[in-house]
Symmetry: C2
Subunit: 203 residues, 2 copies
């Protein structure tokens, strides 16, 4: 009777096991992906493996804004055509990507690296809050736009960071165009653009 070792050849079993560690990939999906990969040419599989390794080795965080970057300073921070007077503060690099896709924003960003969550032991020290305060105090931008998903933790983060920055400059937040409880990353581009447009001063 077929036991685990006979069902899959060992290198195939290892690949399935590795694929199952990816988010949203269960045993059936992992098997389907693995068998598909075996049918691809060796050069195609090499290209995928190399893309994995190179992305991991070459992509780090921008030293200015903490967005994902293959250079010490990211393309957005280096871009002379972008407005240095506005910094949009987001929780994650995914949010930068989502906002860039709206093509409605031409300022800079600051990626906090998460939101405040005492339950998970995430305080201001676990985020890039002090770098942000330093950056704002030195650069003196005209406006800080808080663009953090309106969850409980997100709201706390917006208010906390907003209070820290208000002594230096105007602090606004994107409008509640996003459904409350929803995730900024998954909002459609029109909703996100509206939210940017309708931003208001933080009380």
């Amino acid at each position: 009777m077929g036991d685990k070792t006979t069902v899959y050849a060992r290198p195939l079993a290892r690949l399935i096991e590795q694929l199952q560690r990816l988010p949203g990939v269960g045993p059936k999906t992992a098997q389907r992906l693995a068998l598909h990969i075996l049918k691809r040419s060796e050069s195609e599989v090499q290209a995928l493996a190399q893309a994995l390794i190179e992305a991991k080795q070459q992509v780090g965080l921008c030293t200015v804004c903490f967005h994902l970057s293959a250079e010490p300073v990211c393309e957005i921070c280096r871009n002379q055509n972008r407005d240095n007077n506005t910094i949009c503060v987001v929780a994650d690099s995914r949010d930068v990507i989502a906002l860039e896709k709206t093509r409605e924003y031409n300022g800079k960003y600051h990626v906090l690296g998460g939101v405040l969550s005492p339950m998970e032991g995430i305080g201001p020290e676990q985020l890039t809050v002090s770098s942000l305060v330093r950056r704002v105090s030195q650069q003196q931008p005209k406006e800080i736009i808080m663009a953090i998903s309106p969850s409980v933790e997100g709201e706390t983060t917006t208010l906390y960071v907003g209070q820290l920055l208000k002594p230096f400059t105007r602090v606004t937040r994107i409008a509640f165009g996003l459904p409350v409880g929803g995730d900024l990353e998954y909002a459609d581009e029109v909703t996100l653009a509206r939210a940017l447009e309708g931003r208001r001063d933080l009380d």
Copy 2:
């Protein structure tokens, strides 16, 4: 304004592009997987990349039954405890895996590598039909079980291969326990086990 090149750092863009070539992976899923991968440790990413390359390099087809195998002859064919007198004919290695998971079958297999499909230019020469006929004529097994999904092409294949093998031995087919039009690979294990049990002689 953010154009394509600024949205993703280049190595990240390449990784997303590579991931999108996987079946069932669209742009959003590819982005989610890529950003997840960047958060894993370098050694974890190396392990995934290596699993990909090793599976592709080491897993080929068994020279006897054409199931996926890391050795010239697969574990099932080499296993002395399995019944040499029964050969179960399937379209794809996925079907061997599905049948092995039922733990109801203790014979050998033969993987055709597809089903007959004149529309797609797949005739008997594109499949391992002649190897199967040779194997059956030499080995003289007591029974051949046809276990091919009952699509139009699958039925044609079952009947065609069955006719070729009937001069040599008894040819049966698994029962229509599977939903007609459904795919053998996705049938649950109980249904597959029933289908094996209820097999009958090919008319």
